[in-house]
């Protein structure tokens, strides 16, 4: 593991019209890590991810990417959104090739193959199932060979079986491409399954930073797995938002 973090979040504060969402977040992410951010809905985890992507302004503090202060869109990061956000007027191949320049087709085709949608390159997103759409969204993020893969609850809307398939897919592309990934999820099991480290956000602050020391591939039936899940869940439950009005719905 590299000694210098590729991403450093330093005392970041963020409020939406006087409602504080993040109250001084400190966080470092290292090369090759898979980090999950969990917490109750409305406690700022998605906002934090969007700040890392450069999609939100911050009120105080700073985000450093490879030591440099982030002021605009984070070009080294690619985000996968919960709702896919494929362009309905582009074919799958064109969607994957979005933002690429030059001879993009072979590259996009290759990545589309790697998520198992080889035969559908010319189809439009409207003909796909939810899981397939997220595969395309994953391919679209991977094709840029991002330094940082940001996953904003990408599996939240999928059924249990598709979810498990996608978890395996995400883990394998993370491993193969030696990516650094940050996953925001409300599913603690998913976080423990995939991550090297789980960060719990409660009321706009980091309340837990837990290293997961389990060999991969991980099994949910492992007692230690269960132990990790319990421990993290306990912290989340304690840190429940007392005043609902202070929580922004994310």
């Amino acid at each position: 593991m590299d000694f210098n973090p590729i991403l450093h979040v330093d005392h970041v504060r963020k409020s939406y019209s006087d409602t504080p969402v993040l109250k001084g977040i400190n966080l470092s992410i290292f090369q090759g890590e898979f980090v999950s951010i969990v917490g109750k809905s409305g406690c700022g985890k998605s906002t934090l991810l969007r700040i890392i992507a450069g999609l939100e302004d911050i009120n105080e503090g700073e985000v450093k990417v490879n030591g440099e202060r982030l002021t605009t869109i984070n070009d080294g990061a690619r985000m996968m959104f919960q709702d896919g956000r494929l362009l309905p007027w582009k074919t799958l191949l064109q969607n994957v090739g979005l933002g690429l320049t030059g001879d993009w087709k072979p590259k996009a085709t290759y990545v589309l193959n790697s998520v198992g949608l080889k035969d559908r390159a010319g189809h439009y997103p409207s003909s796909l199932s939810g899981g397939q759409k997220q595969r395309v969204a994953l391919a679209r993020a991977l094709v840029h060979e991002p330094e940082l893969l940001l996953l904003d609850e990408p599996l939240g809307a999928l059924d249990a079986l598709t979810r498990m398939e996608m978890q395996n897919l995400i883990e394998s592309v993370w491993k193969e491409n030696r990516l650094t990934a940050i996953l925001v999820t409300h599913d603690v099991e998913e976080a423990v399954l995939l991550s090297d480290r789980v960060i719990v956000i409660g009321e706009g602050e980091v309340v837990m930073n837990k290293k997961i020391d389990l060999p991969r591939p991980r099994s949910r039936s492992n007692p230690t797995f269960h132990h990790y899940t319990e421990e993290i869940l306990d912290v989340i439950m304690e840190e429940s938002c007392v005043k609902k009005s202070e929580c922004k719905i994310v």
């Binding site: 869109i73 985000m79 959104f81 956000r85 362009l87 007027w89 582009k90 979005l98 409207s126």
Partner: protein
């Protein structure tokens, strides 16, 4: 007898055909006097005569020219205003209220004014058509741009698109279906405006041909003019539909 495709093509034409047949029969029986409504065959005959003399083609060409010129000018301006007001907040604040106020004036009410300004020259017709076409295209372009999914725009930015590439890959395609609705609506406005303008203030064109025929009680020519308008209207709508099919292909393939 017929397969399904043919049946679906023929069924929409059944009612017009039956009406046409009845009309012809009633005319031949003398139940509809020729002074009230000429028979379809009489209309077709006068159409053939006017075509042979070249008169009809001249009038149609003139009318089409006016319609298209007005449509292009008005459509272009409406599109431009809709685009810029939709994209740039300060312009929107400056212009939208004024445009909405102008929009609420029925453009045909300006006809007397337009005749005084431009006479019964080409300019008056083109001006009215352009004015009529401008607003539906403005509103639908503006609305289309404003309602493009914000999530998609954000995604585009996060994937390195900005400026032109963001506009052409995300914003314009997102607004396109609304813009096309505006165009189809505007095509209807284009023809009605032209009909009124040509009927009242012109010395050529199909509307003029109809008014001229009225002077000589040429019922068949009047009905012919009306039919030509409806055919031209149908034709332009059909062309607009073709573009819709081509550009919004992704919508049908679900």
């Amino acid at each position: 007898m017929f397969n399904r495709v043919w049946r679906e093509k023929l069924i929409p034409w059944m009612i017009p055909m039956i009406i046409l047949g009845l009309w012809q029969i009633l005319s031949m029986n003398g139940m509809i006097p020729a002074t009230i409504l000429p028979s379809p065959i009489a209309v077709i005959q006068s159409g053939a005569e006017l075509t042979a003399s070249g008169e009809l083609i001249d009038h149609i060409t003139i009318s089409l020219g006016r319609a298209l010129t007005g449509f292009l000018i008005g459509g272009f301006l409406g599109f431009l205003f809709g685009l810029f007001n939709g994209l740039f907040k300060p312009l929107d604040l400056l212009l939208d209220t004024s445009i909405q106020m102008l929009r609420n004036i029925p453009h045909l009410a300006l006809l007397p004014l337009v005749i005084l300004w431009f006479g019964i020259d080409e300019v008056s017709k083109v001006f009215l058509v352009a004015l009529g076409v401008l607003f539906p295209i403005y509103i639908n372009t503006y609305h289309g741009i404003k309602t493009v999914d914000k999530g998609l725009i954000e995604m585009g930015k996060a994937y390195g698109l900005k400026g032109y590439s963001l506009f052409f890959q995300v914003i314009l395609p997102g607004a396109l279906s609304s813009i096309l609705v505006g165009i189809r609506y505007a095509l209807g406005v284009m023809w009605t405006t032209l009909i009124v303008a040509e009927t009242i203030a012109a010395n050529s064109g199909i509307g003029y041909m109809a008014m001229n025929a009225r002077e000589f009680m040429q019922m068949d020519v009047i009905v012919l003019s009306i039919l030509i308008y409806s055919l031209l209207g149908k034709l332009s709508d059909w062309i607009a539909k073709l573009f819709e099919k081509k550009w919004l292909m992704w919508k049908q393939l679900s």
